[in-house]
Symmetry: C2
Subunit: 409 residues, 2 copies
DNA sequence: TGTGATTGTTACCGCACGCAACAAATTGGG
DNA sequence: CCCAATTTGTTGCGTGCGGTAACAATCACA
């Protein structure tokens, strides 16, 4: 049923993780604040911060400037942002990004490049590896990489990080996580995760949903993806495929979708459909994002075709959101990627459909927002995903990384 | 952020709860089995069982008959099924049920009655209270009631158990949980929960989904409801409304639904629609369940209209399931209530639509099953819901119940 | 009847956290 | 400039929980 090991070690692990996560997500905090927030004793907080300091994960400093209250000033615990970092990769349909993200969520350095839609897997890997190496080279001498993750626009199996479908990027049978890990040679695994799932994670932890434990993130690119945060955690489902909201059938018998079905949300509100409805041609080599923005701008400027296209797309988006609201009762729905622009251009229509299509009770309190992290949702999500292991067991993970010669596993 | 209290007590609570839950769900088990399954030491298991025995929650006995292996026979820990029980209420559209369910999940005693569809809230409460009192009277002298819960076919807010909508049962502004608790006078709160949510819980813990931590339960009655189990826990959403799958719009612009929208799953596959499509009239006073069974039987016997009605309903059900599979990636979808009969009569159609409407990856391993608990899903779920508190903190809850005069809270 | 195997029982140990007392650092007032 | 009040760092000690090990109890089998 379950194996827990000695439970006292688990308490310690849990408390170390909670403390580290606190300063990672909410920034530097005084020991007093930590004791208050975590509900732990002063002495316990000291023991924990001492451990983390020894491990090199946090630093304790005297607060600068004059304290506002009387009494001995409390030591400020801050994450070692420059010494502890992860590699975050984003594989987009139109771009490739690699970033070095420090503990605390600071993007220390990044490399970004466009990607032509017919480039193959080998090109892709080469660019990512070269970018990562260059980032690592520029890092400080004593910096430690504690994780790495890739955001990918496709269906990814959780058990072995295998890409099952990559509708807009062909990677064949390649396990890009393993391939990247091998070629980087850092001795750390590279996770692969669906881009919209990562977006949900990012918006939940650092974006529009920091105060909401039940939210849905909808991401538009060439396709439409989604991620669900339930009870504060990303929903994976039985094999990690959960969140493929883009293939919810909102219009049975509607427009054909790349997945083989008809009337999927993706088929009705995707970039290509919007352009077609607005009477525009897809320009090869031009990022879809710009084209979508252009349609929204034209609609604002009075273009009838663009306006009708947006309204039509907004209607189907509204049906999709209504269904999600009924099924999940989220506190928040976040629109990212091209859906951000589409929502901004069709909010009234979306809300109108939602008003008739969703039950009053779950509809009453749900908020609709655009992604607060802009175009970095996937990247930030990948970084958070990569940090997950360290946050779950800070000391052990760091001990393993610092003595790679000794213990084989 | 969080308050945990002394962490060691939490460990104890957790282990006591885990042990009690084990024998509650999987039946009597030897100490040796428990030690193995929970990953705890013999001595720890002894300490835990001693606590639970003292509290009167379990009993330890020498195993009957000859043991099969050599060595000293291990004491068997079994739940005190007759001494510790909960009250489970089911408010159905056509029936009312009260049951006394013992720890371990045994239905010790029950009272069931039909309910006319125009009965009001006062009648309803009267019947339930009378039934419960009669059950309590017949119980043993030293039996302890440790919880109570009601399954209700409507939208229920979690924070205060208020019924927001009861489409087929009018209870006005009445908070039936509080009302029941007051009239029973047992000093224990009575929870109220959506019936299909409870069905999901029941099928997960004692039905078709015991080995599946990500499943969806679909329940058909007059309306259609649902419940989602994700990572082994019931999904509630922001306010507890999650699971209103019956109001997912599968057919935009389709049949009008009681909720005001059109083309909801409930409107397309509900009892009334099936009867209408099959050319049958609703007979006042006749339980819908029988009418649905009759249609399925007729279809099997060759009735063309019934067959076409089933096929049509099966198509929409298939679209609904396909969407759920794409969004959640469940390992299992369970059909209960009238949907059990409908699925049995239209399985081929449902699977056919699922095959084209869901992505290959999540579709590949999902299983479709009928409810293993038959018509008792809601009742069993209510019992499990009522047991939740004792299982979370066995000793404290029992201590509170045994000394109600002393501590005010 | 004796032997090996398995488990119940008990005393003891390590560990994590809370508590309380004391030292240190700061603010503010006389 | 000094002192009281306040807040926090630091340290030693106590409590409680689970693990370990040794011994006693009970079974199957030869």
């Amino acid at each position: 049923m379950m194996k827990g090991g000695p439970s006292q070690e688990e308490i310690r692990r849990h408390n170390l993780g909670t403390l580290l996560r606190f300063v990672h997500l909410r920034g530097p905090a005084s020991r007093a604040t930590l004791a208050e927030s975590l509900g732990l004793n002063r002495s316990t907080i000291m023991a924990l911060t001492t451990d983390l300091t020894t491990a090199g994960l946090v630093r304790e400093e005297l607060p600068r400037g004059p304290g506002r209250r009387a009494g001995r000033p409390s030591l400020v615990v801050r994450p070692e942002s420059t010494r502890v970092y992860v590699l975050a990769f984003e594989i987009g349909v139109d771009r490739l990004v690699v970033a070095r993200v420090g503990l605390g969520g600071v993007v220390l350095d990044r490399r970004e490049g466009v990607r032509s839609r017919d480039a193959d897997a080998a090109d892709l890997l080469g660019v990512l590896v070269a970018g990562a190496r260059s980032l690592i080279r520029k890092a400080e001498r004593d910096a430690v990489c504690v994780g790495a993750a890739v955001g990918f626009p496709g269906v990814v199996r959780r058990s072995d990080d295998t890409i099952m479908i990559g509708p807009n990027i062909d990677v064949g049978d390649l396990r890009i996580g393993d391939a990247l890990a091998r070629r980087l040679g850092l001795g750390i695994p590279v996770s692969v995760c669906n881009d919209a799932n990562l977006g949900a994670l990012a918006e939940h932890e650092r974006g529009a949903g920091v105060n909401c434990d039940d939210l849905i993130y909808l991401h538009g690119d060439v396709g439409v993806g989604g991620g669900i945060i339930a009870r504060g955690r990303l929903l994976g489902g039985d094999e990690g495929y959960a969140g493929e909201i883009g293939h919810m059938i909102v219009n049975p018998g509607g427009r054909p979708c790349a997945c083989g079905s008809k009337g999927c949300l993706e088929a009705e509100v995707g970039e290509r459909t919007l352009l077609a409805l607005a009477g525009r041609e897809e320009v090869p080599g031009r990022p879809g994002r710009d084209a979508v923005r252009d349609v929204v701008a034209s609609a604002d400027a009075g273009d009838i075709a663009a306006r009708e296209a947006l309204q039509r797309v907004g209607t189907w988006l509204g049906f999709g959101v209504a269904n999600l609201v009924n099924i999940f009762n989220p506190g928040l729905v976040v629109f990212g990627g091209t859906l951000r622009d589409i929502y901004l251009g069709a909010a009234a229509q979306v809300r109108s459909v939602l008003a008739t299509g969703a039950l009053a009770a779950p509809r009453d309190k749900v908020k609709l927002r655009t992604a607060a992290l802009g175009d970095d949702t996937t990247l930030v999500g990948a970084a958070e995903f990569a940090f997950a292991e360290v946050l779950a067991d800070p000391v052990q993970v760091l001990a393993r990384l610092k003595a790679p010669e000794d213990s084989p596993v």
